[in-house]
Amino acid sequence: MSPVLEIRGLSVPLPGSGDRAHAVEGLSLTVGPGEIVCVVGESGSGKSVTAHAVMGLLPPVLKPSAGEIRLQGEDVLAASPSRLRALRGGRMAMVFQEPMTALNPVLTVGAQLAEVLEVHAEGPSGRARHERVLALMRDVHLPDPERMVRAYPHQLSGGQRQRVMIAMALANDPALIIADEPTTALDVTTQAQILKLMRELQERRDAGILFITHDFGVVAEIADRVAVMRRGRLVEEGPADAVLSRPQDPYTRMLIDAVPSATPPAPRPRPAARPPVLEVRDLAKTYGGGVASGLGGLFGKPGRVVHALDRVSVTLRPGETLGVVGESGSGKSTLARCIARFVDPSAGEIRLDGADIAGLNRRALHPYRRRVQVIFQDPYRSLNPRRKVGPSIIEGPQNYGTPAAVAWDRARSLMDLVGLDPSALDRYPHEFSGGQRQRIAIARALAMEPDLLIADEAVSALDVSVQAQVLDLLESVRERLDLAILFITHDLRVAARLCDRLIVMLNGRVVEEGETASVFADPQHEYTRALFAAAPGAHRRQAAE
């Protein structure tokens, strides 16, 4: 059967003097009808540029310089603008990564769906069009389509919006659907549902799907064939089973190995129980309600009360790592920010070595600040871009009276500890990669000689290969410095790698708590079980076992 998409020798040069000449170089790839081809790669691999090139949606600075892209035999790169418009939304359609921003906020969902049908001449009109919109919404299992056609995007959840995007892509029965990281912005449980939907649709229709992802778990879940890209080039291609079980290229092997395993390592021997560093008792944080302070609240509406944290209790001993796992809105980050006292808790106790810091004011808190240090999620924003690395690291110790010379000595030895050259202290953050910046952030936290380290999604923004290295670093730091670590994450597999104990949070409450191994072996709460079931790659692993 002839392929729906055939990319041959595609090259897209990068403008200016980047670190490489091409975003995509000499790429060849085919997608057959009814086939899901996953393009996998880390950031900067050129996978997104490829997807946008097929749709003719590259920004003007990027122009393909060689090769051809054939959609059912027709060269897309040579098509006139009006022909290209007819193809887009007609014979090829795209689902984007960010469902939150991909829909027009001022038009109803129904209007946006109807528009795809309307602008393509072959589409139905009038009553038939409305029926078709409803049918599409039923196809993607949106609840109550009659009501939802009149809803605006902000009234929908992330998963629902992505379903609308998929319905929009399906509208004119395209031969090719391009999905650019369609589940990356979603929670695991939602991701599982969307992947299931795409599988189901692909079985019912005959469209070929070009699926862009960075996650081998997702690949295992959905792919028929896999193409691995690195720095603009194709490094490996083949049937999903073959690539996943017998990767040929070392880079592919490294990527697959770097995916955290779903089975936790054997529990490590832990030091004898000592008095806890951190004891959180019945911590609560509510937003809204109450009388807002100042004149600003004078005309504000009385808001609803949101319980971001609902009587959470946590105990953490020296040398121990506690994983806090939850999806967005579970309150896990609020917990971290309350303990670090970036936000004021509404009720409850936070005891550091027995002293309650929950209600202390700025001045009284000062001596305790250094004992709790945070590593943030986004390595690009957690270092002041205007300050060199050295001054950023010694800032804290100097605030507590450490003489400059001592602080610099310590900074140099910390660079060594986190695996960077001491010359890094004289450079600006923008000269470092994301993984290196996260190492710097760890060094900055350690410079304070804290008792407790809070890692708030500290590896979530990193590519898998870098993620593994940073996790290794945290592990070795914990061993050497006898630190307590509160490890906040949305990913059970990452938590399994590092944590001695786990708590699972849902809607501001702790729903499950226990030793990592026992939580994995025998999850008690149904939500925990749902999380395990939703973890991408779980099905294939089960089938393999």
Partner: protein, 607 residues
């Protein structure tokens, strides 16, 4: 919807209260005694005291204020203490031409500016875009009255196709009514078109970068549909508010335009004091009238803005994002930007001319030479002479001193004060709401009206003018700084510094302040440009610098009477104002473009 509107209206009450207090305080606390002004130079202390008692000026301040507010709430705007007529009736009598001119201007400007802005954004970076932007920069830089005189000179005097001045009520026929409004409308709408086109362009450009535009294109929509249905609809909010808020920008412009075209509208009193040649003035009006005209004063242009500002004008332009990656080396590229270089070059020339004025072939700028009156430009007098035989060239060169000084002073003072207020408001939560409501109130006072009021009370003087222009600029700077602070304080690196035990003063200086420098430099240049322009307008209206001091505005003010005989007296200083303000504006735009990393990012590649 009804509840929403009611809520918004209720929210303006505190602002109006603040405005009332500030207006009252400024007028009462300003040095100068209305009674003394009213009584005239020859009055005895008893006469002044008697007038004070009659006007209630001897009562305690609080009681005066309470009485004023009480009457205001009952629709009693008071009585003009000069013409003894009720202020409300004075306004009523003159409202028709003002409304007529304002309406035609808005209709014309919106019809022209919105399409221009959309097309410029769509064709971003092409000659269409550059043309629209150039027009808008020029529109911001030419004083309204200079434009007015250019129209009169061209269309009415040279081509003789339209009546020069005057007003005909619509009740006397639609034809003559419109005919007389054509030139004033064209004059007044230029700055308005510039403002709306610029805002539309910025807003549409911003929206065109959104993901849902890419979605719309991925659906196969044609560009016109993408632009109207998806882009313009989402870009409409800042545009509509700039149109709305811009209506009050018209107040300043209307005052000037009506004055140029002799339309009977509200107008400031011409000064009768001072050593300069007396001008036949309009009947005097009390500043209370002008106070009653107070309204939201918009920014003169959508400037470097803050993302979180409630003022959509402020957020219309791309934000100077807090963390330019190569910040440490940000300035050198700015110094290679053509706009920056051009602006700096012109400024340096003007500055040198101002400093070296006595050695540039100038004569004594205030020497009267009755036999050389109204001579056209010649080799002896390059720019001609004015109605008193004074050399216009010499006066213009010396006038540069005043204009530049006022520009720099206003920029420096408003940036310094605005920075402090903005930092405080942005970082100290409980003060924020109070400070920002006061700032809203101050911002609601149009600078031209404030200046007229202050000058009338405390007498003309450079200090008064600087104060009057500075006060309304402070809130804009403060809001800008506050916006940057609010954005930056959420940055993880600021939280990391808090976690590292950095105390507040050091935190602000080390981590927050550096982020405000780039936007403040840009804002400072815009303030400077706007101050030079405002001074010219004030002096032109006779409410600015003392007439004996040659300033660009004063030179033009004195050229008004003889404009049809000797247009050079207005044209040359007008060109100087326009060129200087244009240079400063271009400098500001250049700085913004080169210090604004967001635009660079937008033009960059896919992630």
């Amino acid at each position: 919807m009804g509840r929403f509107v009611a809520g918004r209206l209720a929210a303006t009450l505190p602002v109006m209260g603040v405005v009332a207090v500030i207006v009252f305080a400024l007028l009462r606390l300003a040095p100068g005694d209305p009674a003394a002004i009213l009584a005239g130079d020859a009055a005895s202390p008893e006469q002044i005291a008697e007038i004070r008692a009659r006007l209630g000026l001897d009562e305690p301040m609080i009681r005066q204020f309470a009485g004023w507010i009480w009457r205001l709430l009952h629709g009693d705007l008071g009585t003009s203490i000069i013409s003894n007529q009720p202020v409300a009736r004075l306004i009523g009598d003159r409202i028709e031409p003002t409304l007529a001119l304002a309406s035609t201007t808005i209709l014309f400007a919106v019809a022209v500016a919105v399409p221009l802005g959309v097309i410029a954004a769509w064709r971003h970076g092409t000659w269409v875009d550059r043309g629209v932007m150039a027009f808008s920069v020029i529109g911001f830089s030419v004083p309204v009255f200079v434009l007015g005189y250019l129209w009169i000179f061209g269309a009415a005097m040279q081509l003789r196709i339209l009546p020069v001045q005057g007003y005909v009520s619509i009740t006397q026929g639609f034809g003559p009514f419109i005919e007389r409004l054509v030139l004033p409308t064209l004059t007044l709408s230029v700055i308005y078109i510039a403002l709306i086109a610029r805002t539309t362009r910025a807003s549409v450009l911003e929206v065109l970068g959104e993901d849902y535009i890419r979605t719309a294109r991925a659906k196969g929509l044609a560009e016109p549909r993408v632009l109207t249905r998806h882009a313009l609809r989402n870009a409409a909010v800042p545009v509509i508010s700039v149109i709305g808020l811009g209506i009050t920008l018209l107040i300043s412009g209307v005052v000037v335009t009506e004055s140029v075209f002799n339309l009977p509208g509200p107008r400031p009193p011409h000064r009768r004091r001072g050593a300069g040649p007396g001008l036949p003035g309009d009947p005097g009006r009390h500043p209370a009238v002008l106070g009653a005209l107070r309204a939201h004063q918009p920014r003169h242009r959508p400037r470097l803005p803050d993302l979180r500002s409630e003022d959509p004008l402020l957020s219309a332009r791309a934000q100077a994002a807090p963390a330019p990656a190569r910040r440490a080396r940000a300035l050198p590229p700015a110094l290679t930007h053509p706009g920056v270089l051009f602006g700096l070059a012109v400024l340096v020339v003007v500055l040198c001319a101002a400093l070296a004025a006595p050695w540039l072939g100038t004569l004594d700028p205030i020497q009267l030479r009755p036999r050389l009156r109204l001579r056209p430009p010649s080799e002896a007098a390059w720019f001609g002479t004015d109605a008193f035989g004074r050399d216009v060239y010499s006066r213009v060169v010396y006038g540069a001193r005043v204009s530049l000084m006022i520009g720099f002073c206003v920029a420096a003072v408003s940036v310094a004060l605005g920075l402090v207020i903005g930092l405080v408001a942005g970082y100290i939560r409980w003060l924020d709401a109070v400070v920002m409501r006061v700032m809203d109130g101050v911002m609601a006072i149009p600078s031209i009206l404030l200046a007229i009021a202050l000058v009338t009370l405390s007498g003309a003087g450079i200090g008064t003018v600087i104060v009057a222009i500075t006060i309304p600029e402070i809130p804009r700077v403060a809001r800008l700084v506050r916006g940057v602070v609010l954005t930056v304080r959420e940055e993880p690196y600021v939280e990391a510094a808090i976690g590292a035990g950095t105390r507040l003063p050091l935190l602000l200086i080390r981590h927050v302040l550096p982020n405000t420098i780039a936007p403040l430099i840009v804002q400072g240049t815009y303030v400077c440009a706007s101050a030079i322009l405002t001074e010219a307008i004030l002096s032109f209206l006779g409410a600015g610098i003392p007439t004996e001091v040659p300033s660009w505005g004063n030179i033009m003010a004195e050229g008004r009477q003889a404009f049809q005989l000797a247009p050079w007296v207005i044209l040359f200083p007008g060109l100087c104002v326009a060129a200087t303000v244009l240079a400063v504006n271009i400098l500001g735009d250049g700085l913004r473009d080169s210090l604004d990393p967001r635009l660079a990012r937008r033009l960059g590649s896919l992630r």
